[in-house]
Each structure stands twice: as structure tokens, then as C-alpha cells.
């Protein structure tokens, strides 16, 4: 079964079409890279996948069910990291997670578990306002993972990270995929980084899918990921 599937998904603002009949298929248990230059439609697609925007045409299916008709049930299976700094900076990481845990009816022990998993257990009681960008991204992932969802949707998770932060994030995503069986959908324009972790890929350009399939299949087209990507987007 596909973790995510879109059927003829279209979206636009006034006369501008952002997405045109998008048909995506993200297989379960994959790390799916969603590639595109700035303004290609990646973030809009992610907002549609999460129900933050309503599609003008077409539908989004998560685990075989239509999102618009089963929103709370399906969102329970999704963890999302959408933007930077979407925390309460006056609270500690522990309390930021507690706000979500209480709302979702999750026990306190899960908070400690998840802080340990993202490597913030020793910093959990510090105010988030004093965190580095890397720590904030790890906390963002912790928030996405709080209810142990099988699917993670991450919008540019490596943005603003230094090289060490990028390596830490990469290792964390690989651990989540291999050891915890998560399906990960991530958008990025850091091709080298994606090359190291993704199993499947889609390339979007001007709101249309130019390619989707396995990473190997894309690389076959021009020899490496970068060349193949450039060939599709220029």
C-alpha cells in the first residue's frame, strides 16, 4: 500500500496555478525525496498533504483513505515538521512536548523516550528560545514523533543547519527509517544530502511532476542525481 497517494491534485492562487494535476505515489517504508527548485510547489504540496490547504481539484489519500473525509484519524498516523521555530520559546523542550502530549493524551514517559531518541535528553529542561538551529530542528522532529506515527512529512528539515547538524539529522532519519520502520517524505533542494538517504524520489518543476520512481532509476537517466535533476528542471 502507498503511504501517500495524490490523484490529479491541483491548486492555485487566483489566476496562478501552483500545482497541476499532481499524481504522487509514496510507497510505505521508503525515504522519499521530493525535489524541486524554490517556488516549484514543494511546500504547497506538503500543505495539501497535511490538510492545511484545501485542494481545488483532486484528492489526497493517506494509507488508502481520503484525507478530507478522515482527517483526525489519518493525521494521527502523520508527524510533520513544516517550518522553523514553531515552538513556544518561553517553555523548555520538555514542556513544549508536554503541551502536545497532553493534547494528544500521550503519557509523560513518551516525552523522555523521544528526547532521548533525538539526542536532547540532557538539554530537555532548557528554554527553547536559547536553543541552536540544530537543536530546534531536533525538537521539531521530536514533536513530529511524539505520537509515534508511521509516516513523517518533513519540509526542508536541513534548512539552516551547519554541516554537523546535517550529519546528525541524516543519521537520525536513517535510524527512524531502519530501526523504527518509519516512512519518511522529505522535501529539500540539498541534492548531495538527499542522495545519501533517499530510496525513492519525485522531481517537481513549475507545479508538475517531471519524474517519480526509485533513486537508481533517476540516476540512470544522466549518471548522477545532480545531472538528472538539472536535466529535468532547466
Amino acid at each position: 500500500m502507498n503511504a501517500i497517494e495524490t490523484k490529479n491534485l491541483s491548486f492555485g492562487y487566483k489566476k496562478e496555478n501552483i500545482l497541476r494535476t499532481l499524481n504522487l505515489k509514496i510507497p510505505e517504508n521508503s525515504i522519499f525525496g521530493f525535489l524541486g527548485i524554490n517556488g516549484a510547489g514543494k511546500s504547497t504540496t506538503i500543505r495539501l498533504l497535511l490538510g492545511l490547504l484545501s485542494a481545488q481539484k483532486g484528492s489526497v489519500f493517506l494509507f488508502g483513505k481520503e484525507l478530507s473525509k478522515n482527517k483526525p484519524e489519518l493525521l494521527h498516523k502523520v508527524g510533520a515538521l513544516i517550518d522553523h521555530s514553531t515552538f513556544y520559546p518561553h517553555l523548555s523542550a520538555h514542556n513544549n512536548l508536554k503541551v502536545l502530549a497532553v493534547l494528544l493524551g500521550i503519557s509523560n514517559s513518551r516525552i523522555e523516550q523521544i528526547l532521548e531518541l533525538v539526542g536532547l535528553s540532557t538539554e530537555g529542561d532548557k528554554r527553547v528560545g536559547n536553543y541552536s538551529v540544530g537543536m530546534k530542528q531536533r525538537l521539531g522532529l521530536a514533536m513530529a514523533l511524539i505520537n509515534d506515527p508511521p509516516l513523517l512529512i518533513l519540509d526542508e528539515p536541513a534548512n539552516g543547519l551547519d554541516p554537523l547538524g546535517i550529519i546528525e539529522l541524516r543519521n537520525l532519519l536513517i535510524t527512524l527509517h531502519k530501526d523504527h520502520g518509519k516512512t519518511i517524505f522529505l522535501s529539500s533542494h540539498l541534492l548531495d544530502e538527499l542522495d545519501k538517504i533517499i530510496t525513492n524520489v519525485a522531481v517537481i518543476h513549475k507545479g508538475e511532476i517531471q519524474f517519480q520512481g526509485t533513486k537508481e532509476k533517476l540516476i540512470e537517466q544522466s549518471g548522477n542525481l545532480e545531472k538528472s535533476f538539472l536535466a529535468l528542471t532547466t
Partner: protein, 263 residues
């Protein structure tokens, strides 16, 4: 417990966790103590009372400044419950949770209303406590000879119910206006315009601007208007207007917001 009740309870606790370390929450909870302390010290220090019921006089004496200050606290608190999400860009986080949106939406307003009710009850308790202390410290004022416990409690309930319309207006404004400063200014304009129109009225009717009574920010003032005159328990008209208007506006706001995209 019913699933929805559990969700609302969780939503309420979650709102409390967000606000518990904020200056504003403690400020709102401390203001009643400050007002009653000031009025207590004024009466204790040098006030000579020449009234039939010192309790009635004392309660009205406390409520007069409180009524105005309460509206400011209301504006600050309601604007803040939405601003905390605007400032931190956390609406998106809340909208992608597996919790129905109505839980998030109504938990916020219930939390804000709960804090305002605590504020009013706290104020009432401090008045009673300080009046009791005055009866011990200055028995010549006559506090020990009369009481006003129930008569002072009912206006507090009327006041909080009638102010529902102000709460709903502010909740709606601060949801759509991301800047807390602009939202507060809109709230203050509502208060000032209501106050100016209120000046056109007299205590028994409306001799000036004929529509002054329909300004939503005036409902709580008018519900409170006959307080201390003996017949305030009968004056429920503006309590109904304020409360029903507030509930209707809140429901309309919810329906408008329910399907709004979050970009």
C-alpha cells in the same frame, strides 16, 4: 468520561501549560489583590463612613475601578491566547494534529474565560476578606453589624456572563489580526467608544444617543448599572444580551474558521 470531554479537558490543560510561565497570566491574577489592597488601605487609613450599609458601600467602592480595569485585563488576556500561536507560528502545528479543530478552538476561549472567572471570584473573595479585616480593625465603621455576601456575589456572576460578548469579539479579532498591538488597540477603541456612548445615558434610561445600549462593550456595564441601588437582581436584560450575543458570535466565528486554510 466521554471522549469529547476528555479532549476538551486535555485542550484546557494544554492551554494552561502554554501560559503558566507568562507574566500576563500572573498579572491578571494579581490585579484583584492590588485593587482590594489599595481600597482596603484607603478605608482603613482615614475614611469615615456615613452610610446605612457599609458593606454595600464598600463593595461598590471596590467595583467602580475594577469594572474599568477588568475590561483591560480581558482585552490583554483574550488577545494573548491567540497571539501566542501567531507569534510562534504554531497554528500549523495545532492544525496538523489528530485532534478535532473545535477542541483547539474552544479550549482557548474556555481557558481565557476560566481565568477571567477566577479573576472575578478572586476579587469578590478579597473584598469579603478585606471587609472582614476592617470589621476587626475599625469596628466603628459598622462592618460587623451588616453583611452583603450574597448581594455582592450575584453581580459578579452577572458581570462575567454579560461580558461574554466582549470576550467573543476580542477572540474573533485577535484570531484574524496577527499583531497583538493592533488587536489591543481595536479592543481599546471598542471600550472607549462604549464608554463615550455610556456617558449619554443616565441611570434609569437613555436620554442621549438612542443606540448606546446596543454597543456590545456596554452590556456588562449596563448589567452592572443598577448595582448598589437595591434592584440590581432584577436587571437581567443586558446579561441575556451579552451572554447570548457572545455565544452566537463565538459559534459564527468557529464556523468561519473551521474550513479556513492555514498557509
Amino acid at each position: 468520561m466521554h471522549t469529547y470531554l476528555i479532549l476538551f479537558r486535555n485542550g484546557f490543560i494544554s492551554e494552561f501549560l502554554k501560559h503558566r510561565n507568562t507574566f500576563l497570566l500572573w498579572f491578571v491574577l494579581l490585579v484583584p489583590l492590588v485593587i482590594t489592597t489599595v481600597t482596603f488601605l484607603t478605608v482603613w487609613a482615614d475614611h469615615a463612613l456615613d452610610v446605612i450599609n457599609p458593606w454595600r458601600w464598600y463593595v461598590v467602592f471596590n467595583y467602580k475601578p475594577y469594572f474599568h480595569i477588568f475590561v483591560f485585563l480581558q482585552i490583554l488576556l483574550i488577545c494573548h491566547v491567540n497571539y501566542i500561536e501567531h507569534r510562534n507560528n504554531t497554528w500549523k502545528n495545532l492544525r496538523v494534529l489528530s485532534v478535532p479543530f473545535e477542541v483547539v478552538f474552544f479550549s482557548k476561549i474556555v481557558f481565557a474565560y476560566f481565568i477571567l472567572i477566577i479573576n472575578v471570584l478572586e476579587f469578590y473573595s478579597f473584598i469579603m476578606l478585606s471587609g472582614y479585616v476592617l470589621s476587626k480593625l475599625r469596628p466603628e465603621l459598622g462592618f460587623q453589624d451588616t453583611n452583603y455576601w450574597i448581594e455582592a456575589f450575584i453581580p459578579s456572576c452577572k458581570f462575567i456572563a454579560a461580558s461574554a460578548s466582549i470576550t467573543s469579539i476580542l477572540y474573533c479579532v485577535s484570531y484574524y489580526v496577527k499583531s497583538i498591538l493592533v488587536a489591543i488597540i481595536i479592543g481599546l477603541l471598542g471600550y472607549v467608544s462604549a464608554f463615550v456612548l455610556f456617558l449619554y445615558t443616565n441611570r434609569s434610561g437613555y436620554t442621549g444617543f438612542p443606540y448606546a445600549q446596543w454597543h456590545p462593550f456596554n452590556f456588562s456595564a449596563l448589567a452592572f448599572d443598577s448595582f448598589g441601588t437595591g434592584n440590581h437582581l432584577l436587571n437581567m436584560e443586558y446579561v441575556y444580551y451579552g451572554f447570548i450575543g457572545g455565544v452566537l458570535l463565538l459559534c459564527m466565528h468557529y464556523l468561519l474558521t473551521r474550513y479556513k486554510s492555514v498557509i
